[in-house]
Amino acid sequence: MTAQMFFIGFFGLAGVWFGIVVFRTFSMVRSALALLFSQTALGAMFLSMQAEFLGVLQIMMMATEMSIMAIFMVMFMMDPGGLGEMDMTHQKRLSLGAGIVSFMAAVAVAVFVDWGPLASVSPDAAQQTIDLGLELLGRSMLIFETAGITILTAMIAATAVAIQPVKRTREQ
């Protein structure tokens, strides 16, 4: 067993375990923190797979995103501390069945498909970043720009939806 294999397995297992904890705890703050740990473990897994740029980006982005999510959880949940142990689930059996079936289907595809020849080496971190930069500003520029515009549109739309409507009188 190589070190890379060990770390991919370890961080993958940690990511999945914390993902399960998200839906097992009654405390919403713990849920948000579990999701943060899950995404951070995946970032570490990316680093183990020698995708340095994506690994660091994942950890930085998810740390911010999940911190914001934790604030929203406290704002919106009826019992953010989980002290009342409220059950906030429905159609549990159907959901569990759907989750297991999709997991099994994805594993079957992973195991039975012939993925072809595997690459043993990848470019070093600096070369990866250069290649990605050239890709984003070359062949994939339209896709990347579309993503940027979509984020801007989503930000404006989210603000417009969330803003409190002001009732104006005729004098105003």
């Binding site: 999945v16 995946l42 994506l54 429905h90 195991v111 990605l132 890709e135």
Partner: protein, 103 residues
Amino acid sequence: MSIELLLALITGAALFGVGIYGALSQTNLVMIMMGIELILAGAMVNLVAFWRYLHPDNPAGQMFVLIIMTVMAIEMAVGFGVAIARFRAKGSVEMEEAAELKG
């Protein structure tokens, strides 16, 4: 088949399954969004594994991961916007109380 690729794909499949369970079983809008985040994280793990073990010389694989991250950010932004509007209007983001949204 490399064990590393298999481990990564199984991790992606497990995250996808857990995310499906969460998105379908939770009644709170924010928790449903957490399930969707896990589904997207599963897709992201697969994309990184495919890039690393099948086509490490092609950076387009990494670019797709950036697109998934964009989708995650958009989902968060729009989801929280909707959550704030819903909370302001009804005082709750419980989806069982949102039957009027049914088409």
